[in-house]
């Protein structure tokens, strides 16, 4: 089980940021070759990201590469570089249908074979940025065994919906969030909430973090390092939650030792989902 609370976006053409972003210790780092990089710099950014992928400083952080859409002149080159460079996850922007993921999967499979990378090692994630993506979320999350996560990209999605952020509890994002979450849970993968664009508004950011956490999002896309620690803190369990989680694990281990199938704790069933949740709580506590 991998903690995926924070996915820090790092522009692929910024040498200084690529060189230093590991110090902020996000759970995942996303090297962006798409929207952050101008067309004139795509080639240079691709070479920089390749180096970053192979740099020891990033060895302990999950490395994600947001490639350009595969039907652009950049997308396939990005993919060749990223798979060969050892990216942990390929993030596909503007995912609209299962076929998008299936195509990605086939290409990744081919490249893994060509470069001798263990088949299946490269994972993928979908970024939902449109109404089509939202309504197809269920089939998208099931389109490949490589899928580990699905993210909602708020800004582009709202543009596609001809809507905009209204602040507060944001009803305009509710359906999309719910759809993405349900698809993720049904497929057993992680879900990422939208990025918060105003880096100076930490109050607004934290409000959104709590909404996302309560809905059940595993984490959030981040665009600034200063968002990492507050996010991690918000995901940290309370002492009470942690204590309960520990007891759950102890009960489960005891039941296993005694050969019992299922046990209960404080009147609640300790079945696999409860155990998994407890493991997650403990992980979050340890990482906070």
């Amino acid at each position: 089980m991998k903690l995926r609370r924070s996915m820090l976006f790092v522009p692929g053409d910024n040498a200084g940021m690529l060189s230093t972003s590991f110090v902020f210790k996000p759970d995942s780092v996303m090297f962006d070759l798409e929207d952050a990089v101008s067309p004139q710099e795509k080639d240079s950014a691709r070479l920089l990201v390749y180096q970053a992928l192979r740099h020891p400083s990033y060895r302990d952080i999950e490395r994600v590469v947001r490639v350009n859409e595969l039907n652009t002149e950049y997308g396939m080159k990005d993919l060749e570089m990223a798979v060969r460079g050892g990216a942990d996850i390929i993030r596909l922007p503007k995912t609209e249908t299962a076929a998008d993921i299936e195509l990605l999967d086939r290409q990744v499979t081919r490249i893994e074979k060509e470069c001798g990378r263990p088949s299946g090692q490269t994972r993928v994630m979908a970024a939902i940025e449109s109404a089509s993506g939202v309504v197809n979320a269920v089939s998208i999350t099931r389109a490949s065994p490589r899928m580990v996560a699905i993210a909602l990209a708020g800004f582009d999605y709202l543009v596609d919906m001809q809507s905009e952020r209204s602040g507060g509890s944001e009803p305009e994002l509710f359906y999309a969030r719910a759809a993405v979450l349900h698809a993720a849970r049904a497929a057993g993968i992680d879900a990422f909430d939208v990025a918060y664009g105003d880096v100076n508004d930490m109050d607004g950011f934290m409000r959104e973090v709590l909404i996302a956490k309560n809905l059940g999002f595993n984490g959030k896309s981040l665009i600034h390092p200063r968002q990492i620690e507050p996010l991690h803190k918000a995901y940290a369990p309370t002492a009470k939650e942690l204590a309960f989680a520990k007891r759950v694990i102890q009960a489960a281990e005891k039941a296993k030792r005694e050969g019992l199938g299922v046990t209960s704790l404080d009147g609640k069933m300790v079945d696999p989902p409860v155990i998994a949740h407890a493991e997650m709580v403990i992980m979050r506590a340890e990482a906070a």
Partner: protein, 98 residues
């Protein structure tokens, strides 16, 4: 690979290098390094630059590297980008660039 036009890659910002590539006027390879830490790291920077040039089979070119405290891997990437742009190359041979 031949350098057929002027090209630049990189930026002036901290942690980066600005690489300027131009066709050689006399058929030789000329490399000029500028860095605030030229005393401590000049040799290392030059070595990284030369390796990168050789790995792309560039025989003749003028390359000027203005270093702003970049890691070796950044230098490598930016020099690669400058050389490829200067050669008008669009296809990357990943076995060589790795």
């Amino acid at each position: 690979m031949d350098i057929v036009r002027n090209a630049i890659a990189g930026t002036l910002e901290s942690g980066d290098v600005l690489v300027k590539v131009s066709p050689s006027e006399d058929g030789t390879l000329t490399v000029h390094i500028e860095s605030e830490v030229i005393k401590q790291f000049g040799r290392q920077i030059r070595s990284t630059v030369m390796e990168t040039i050789k790995a792309l089979s560039i025989g003749a070119a003028t390359v000027v590297v203005s270093d702003k405290g970049a890691l070796d891997c950044v230098i490598k990437a930016r020099v690669q980008a400058g050389l490829l742009r200067g050669a008008g190359a669009t296809d990357l041979n990943w076995k060589v660039l790795g």
